[in-house]
Symmetry: C2
Subunit: 322 residues, 2 copies
């Protein structure tokens, strides 16, 4: 299924580069490879899963249109993939999503419905917007096609590891619901058993880390209140968790401050723009070396949709000074 | 010579991606492709020419070491290429170079000698640092091997144009001394005669544009006083100018404000970091459409070494507002 998804995705997605910097290696005391999915179309890996899911719909399903909910990266991925397939899309987004994500989703042709996370129930909004469930729901992570699509990152990581003589490595993946991490883990299980996926999360949203320890799905006490919006989900999914539990190493969680420092180092050393939630894996690679086992670590920089103000504040606070 | 240089460079340099965004296409009213050389090692294309030149030295020359002068991108390229060849390097840099460039050049193992452009004569410094001319001088652009090395960008552009079905295009190149533009122009002359190189410069440093009009080497009245430090040279080179004159279309010059706006759009829409001098080609693509002839334009984003403060100010001034 992952291979089929990859064949549908590959002509349309970017094969994103694996970047390095001697300065980052020195901080991490190991070789750090950054899979720059922020350079993917729409600025995140989510385009892959969205393309996989929409391209798998039959004619009648496409005619009905699609619907989803997302703080912004899955939203943009669905919007662009839907537009390219001439499928209508509706996206339910929290009002406090980064402005750039809301704007881009609209600009890519989706109908955006905003709701207030604190006072409104998303399922009621969904009922109102999609009364007869005529639109096909494409969930952000707990969807087989979406997971298969995200798995295409794993295919590229396996290929690029060979190209770069990386034999054993830990693959750190910024994780919300676990769609990307489980897709990559399934792929690497087949293609390179010397690579192990490790999930990376913000400290106060470490549901996957705790779930991997307890062996059952644990929840966060909240799903907002961090700049790492891209990875703030309530819990790992019903489909993703068993995959993560079977295949991943221990989860790693990092402070928001470390995520912002990693974001600034990516600006200075790799010249890429990553968003706070897309920087937690790099933060784990750079600042949590005591939790890592291999000399090579591949950190997936999952997205780059960050508001200028957030980026500015981080540069001012953590950028190297004269 | 370009082909030979490419064979030496290719295993060590990155094949940088060609990025796009529907948002940029809409601004430019044509298809805009950005060759992201800011993702090259050391953050600029200069690594290519440096590698080509140093890898061409014989054993005795390597033993003597190399010397050059640069505001920073050629400096870093030489420093890294020299280090990888176990060759000692000395770089003469203006004191007012961006801090990140001075620091990185030192961190890459070069001996950095700073001088004051206003009060000191660079050639006297050079005489003092390299008294018997024992070190091999590798000029930033007026050097056959350096030009051949930069030409490797043209090889990749030709290949990537085929991959992306780009038939005719103008290739906009941020230009200081013209090393990159002449290298690409020579390559495309052989590989794809439907591609024409156009140089891009800041308005007050439009020596190449004026030289292409008058048919002889024209000079700028100054070589500092702009954030576009990477492209502030006195004039095109003795070797580069005849190549540019024979092969390039009209030069384009842009305001510093437009370069900064292009830098911000690259942040928002492509998630790459480019420096002001590396953004003049993208600025020409986006804001000088009336001077362009083709439906496809390829802008080379030549470098991404920008101080956080400069970037912050530009984001604050030109970033999209809520």
């Amino acid at each position: 299924m992952i291979k089929d998804a990859y064949e549908r995705i590959a002509p349309h997605a970017r094969r994103t580069p694996l970047l390095t910097s001697p300065f980052l290696d020195e901080i991490a005391k190991r070789r750090v490879w950054v899979k720059a999915e922020c350079l993917q179309h729409t600025g995140s890996f989510k385009f892959r899963g969205a393309w996989a899911a929409i391209s798998a719909l039959n004619y009648e399903e496409r005619r009905r249109g699609v619907i989803t909910f997302s703080s912004g990266n899955h939203a943009q991925g669905i919007a662009l993939a839907a537009m390219r397939h001439s499928v209508s899309s509706t996206i339910i987004m929290p009002k406090d999503s980064p402005r750039i994500k809301i704007e881009n989703t609209r600009a890519l042709g989706a109908e955006v419905v905003l709701y207030d996370r604190a006072t409104e129930d998303r399922s009621i909004i969904e009922e109102k917007v999609n009364p007869k469930k005529s639109r096909i729901l494409i969930k952000p992570y707990d969807d087989h096609q979406v997971i298969a699509g995200q798995g295409s990152v794993g295919i590229e990581v396996a290929e690029q590891s060979i190209e770069n003589n990386i034999l054993n490595a830990e693959v750190l993946v910024c994780s919300g619901g676990g769609g990307l991490a489980s897709g990559i883990a399934l792929t690497l299980e087949k293609l390179n058993s010397n690579m192990q996926v490790r999930t990376a999360e913000p400290n106060e949203f470490d549901d996957i880390k705790r779930s991997l320890i307890s062996g059952k799905i644990e929840q966060n006490t909240k799903t907002s209140g961090s700049l790492c919006d891209a990875v703030l989900t309530l819990s790992p999914g019903e489909i993703t968790f068993p995959i993560l539990y079977r295949l991943c190493g221990k989860g790693i969680s990092v402070s928001e401050e470390d995520a912002l420092r990693a974001m600034v180092l990516a600006f200075e050393r790799l010249r890429i723009v990553i968003e706070p939630g897309g920087a937690v894996a790099l933060a784990a690679a750079l600042f949590h070396g005591d939790e890592l086992n291999q000399d090579d670590v591949i950190a997936v920089a999952t997205g780059g949709n960050v508001d200028a103000e957030v980026f500015n504040n981080a540069l001012a606070q953590y950028g190297s000074k004269s």
